[in-house]
Symmetry: C3
Subunit: 385 residues, 3 copies
């Protein structure tokens, strides 16, 4: 019994080199996704999240976070509609008392039918969980697919010992694919030309450029993260755009000292890394996690290599006082607005055939191809049952 | 010109023994359904209701309630958008003045086109109406299907002379099928373990049991109501559920005197009867009436056999002061919450193939089979035009 | 790659003589449609509108209104989400800086990619615009379809030099087709029997009539407007409708002096003209412009032939003080209520086969046939990409 595919196969056929990416409207399976910040789930607490349409329930037990499907196997109600944990190890469905062990999902008891053969035999789906740098990662995948090490699915340097990470999360009303595409987009600086962050950091912002084609690097080592690095190299840079004899749109120009190198790359499953942003010595890691077809969670995190605890404290203070208001709530919010607006177009599957990309958008296409090439499974409506 | 079926035929094929039930997402045709309480429609008043997607308009004339389709035959507007009854016998459509006789639906006049051949020949659909025990029943069916006596579609004892009925109604955001299924569910007592009604009535509530399979009775006499009686017989009863060495979930236990026999049964078209609930000598009759695919009206009524008017008055006072707050707004509201939560699962037709029932759920399946066996017609989108 | 048609072809096949009309749920292409009042768009201002599902952006430059598609050709965002016009001649997309010339849609610059080959070659869709009598008309059609003169698509007399036009606009929650159908409807006077306008203008309102069939005129000259004129001629008129021996519904009767001739006609693409309404010497022109499948803009305009500026001033004062409150916000609002109610029926495509028209509705059918006969293109979902 086949379900209706999420994207019309006739449309998919038109995009051979990134067909799987086109099809993965709900996301790719068999990857580690950020579920929440560690700080959001204290000992004993339960938190419900939706990733690629799947309801997932998290609980921290003796420091370790466990994850199970947020839907009773019996009559399908959400366990999170009324959380009942009678002891540390289990959760009991509020309806008939099906009791599941967080660790392995086993039905350890059914209050209403204690002698049922389901006790000790049936299971609810569990998900592998890892925690790193203040983020909780959940592996959303198939039972027969071994989760790779988390380091294979984090951008290089993110897991480095010295790196301290701070960040915040927003729910964005656009498909998840518009996240990395907006990050790797070389020519959208115009959007940011009035961001106060630029003045605050005295960073110059050229508005346009002529790119050297082919200045990118595919990273596809078997034993490591996979991604696409933009070795940005412009033949020319423009700070001003002349629209007619009298009209000039001006970028932000602090002269030579304002020109800061900013290197962007995107990594599987869907993380943007920008070195040198939002300020010197800092790195943006932005994670895009599909909620459903039309929304995603965006975890905007900033990493700083800190040699001492004092340095780490100073970074944390700077995050709150400077980077959160100016980068997360300012600059990056402009990108979120753009994604939500583009959703009005790309929300229609046909739009992917109608978009009118320009030469400097070649990175977009490389990313789509890379992402399609490393497909381990496409989330479908069947997976939601 | 076939319309899209409400449930995919491929899915239906997987459930042979209750296929019709699976298909009857919008309800079964050719049955008596509760439209409202008698008290809701005073002499001369007009009331609009939707049953199985059909808009129905009711009016009480000289004591008797009449029902017609709430849609003008001419240009399809709802008569209830602006009710205009110029005399006792008719209703006039506010748009072109089509005037329909409540009794037989005949077009007796068209104000805008008085000489049209439609006058005296065309009709609006009418519905048989019966009133009993303070409820107004409407027969929603085909023109060529003779309505059976109302007593065939009320649970036994409901129509008994001595029985006085009180009750209230709620709109529930779930498919109607989750109503009787939740009522006949033997193992969901856990849901109710903290209901104040139990303490108020000093009723014990075992949490679990091991059922004796086959302790049910099918009632399918041609000349009477059809239903399924749960002759509840447990091999064992459990008041406590041991979750681990230290953790016990406790039921409500007032000892031997708190153990009250409570007998449940379900009846066509969709009524639950629980004898001994919410208190000794009382009987719950709960009617589930489809509004559309995702909602139903739940008429929660309690019957009490009263020998005298004084007894009847006392029962009515007890209903207001005790049974309404504790049973209708308390205990039964917990079931409503469960139905609305289960709708998140069963709202997807595929869920009916994915549910994971246990041994003690056999009553559910018997009910589905009984209901499917006595199918006189399935409501489809075609019936809504 | 065919998209799903808006109306099921099997249904369309049942209505051969007005099949195109049935199919044109989103409207007919290649026509002049009213976008807004001239007063809504001052010099330099930008206004966004949706016509037949297409987002259209308007701007007045040196007095002349220009129109382009409200969607960037590059990544599909709406230009109107953040309007940026750096000079008089162009609009710049807020995202990547694609800059389009209002006059011809040409990409004159791309701020983010100034050397792209798209500059000076690619275009955004533009729409012909005409302004007349205080209304802004936009031609929504195909690139290879030459826009006819505006006078071919305005009812006769509307463009006459002496005619002064005043009016207002409402968004109506019904399909656009219910607009002209409600206007040409001969037998709906009952709806208006209590409109205060009738008393204010001492106009009689018969409730019903027996029409002389065939009293209409098709106007289909190649070099002029196409329409259907109702040369209303009743064999009999009724001021009172007798519902039973005692019950009479009365029309408004000011005797002979209250009987005013009111002539209705409908014109392509979708405009109602009523001479003698709302008062002697006045003419109603009501324009129905599809927004999407379930809503339209209704421009209710009243024309008055004025010989002098003083006469024009008096008419404008009368519009504000008398015709706007009594005709636009009163009488015509009753028709809007009827259209919105009928949408509950006609919103289902099958309803068009189920409606039960009467003899006096023959004008409706003639209009549908006329409209179908002059079909230059049906708006589909494909046109929205």
């Amino acid at each position: 019994m086949a379900t209706q595919p999420l994207v019309d196969p006739e449309l998919l056929a038109a995009k051979k080199s990134w067909k799987e990416y086109f099809a993965a409207k709900l996301g790719f399976r068999n990857h580690w996704y950020v579920a929440c910040f560690s700080r959001e789930i204290a000992e004993g607490e339960v938190l419900a999240r939706k990733i690629m349409g799947e309801g997932i329930l998290l609980r921290r037990i003796n420091g370790k976070v466990h994850a199970i499907r947020d839907r009773c196997i019996h009559r399908g109600v959400k366990l999170s509609d009324k959380v009942e944990c009678h002891n540390a190890e289990t959760i009991t469905c509020w309806y008939h008392g099906f009791t599941f062990r967080w660790e392995d999902g086993l039905v350890t008891a059914i209050v209403g039918a204690p002698e049922s053969s389901a006790v000790g035999t049936k299971r609810i789906k569990t998900y592998p969980v890892e925690e790193a740098k203040g983020l909780v990662f959940v592996f959303v995948g198939d039972a027969d697919f071994a989760a790779p090490p988390l380091r294979h699915e984090c951008p290089p340097s993110f897991l480095d010992d010295a790196v301290v990470v701070e960040g915040d999360c927003r729910v964005v009303k656009s498909n998840w694919r518009l996240g990395p595409e907006g990050g790797i987009d070389e020519i959208h600086r115009y959007l940011h030309r009035e961001a106060p962050l630029l003045l605050n950091t005295k960073s110059s912002l050229p508005l346009g450029h002529k790119a050297v084609r082919g200045q990118f690097e595919m990273v596809e080592d078997e034993d490591g993260p996979k991604g696409l690095i933009d070795h940005f190299k412009a033949e020319k840079m423009y700070f001003d755009a002349q629209l007619d004899e009298k009209t000039v749109v001006r970028g932000v120009n602090f002269g030579a000292e304002g020109r800061r190198a900013v290197y962007a790359s995107v990594w599987l499953p869907a993380c943007l890394k920008v070195e040198g942003f939002p300020g010197p010595g800092l790195t943006l890691f932005e994670w895009y996690v599909p909620i459903d077809e039309t929304s995603h969670r965006c975890f905007m995190t900033i990493g700083s290599a800190c040699a001492t605890d004092e340095e780490a404290d100073l970074f944390r203070q700077a995050y709150k006082a400077r980077w959160k208001p100016l980068a997360v709530d300012g600059f990056l919010q402009q990108d979120i607005m753009a994604r939500e607006s583009a959703q009005g177009f790309y929300g229609n599957d046909r739009a992917w055939l109608e978009e009118c990309l320009v030469e400097d958008d070649f990175m977009l296409i490389e990313w789509r191809k890379l992402r399609a090439r490393h497909c381990h499974g496409i989330q479908t409506l069947d997976h939601l049952l």
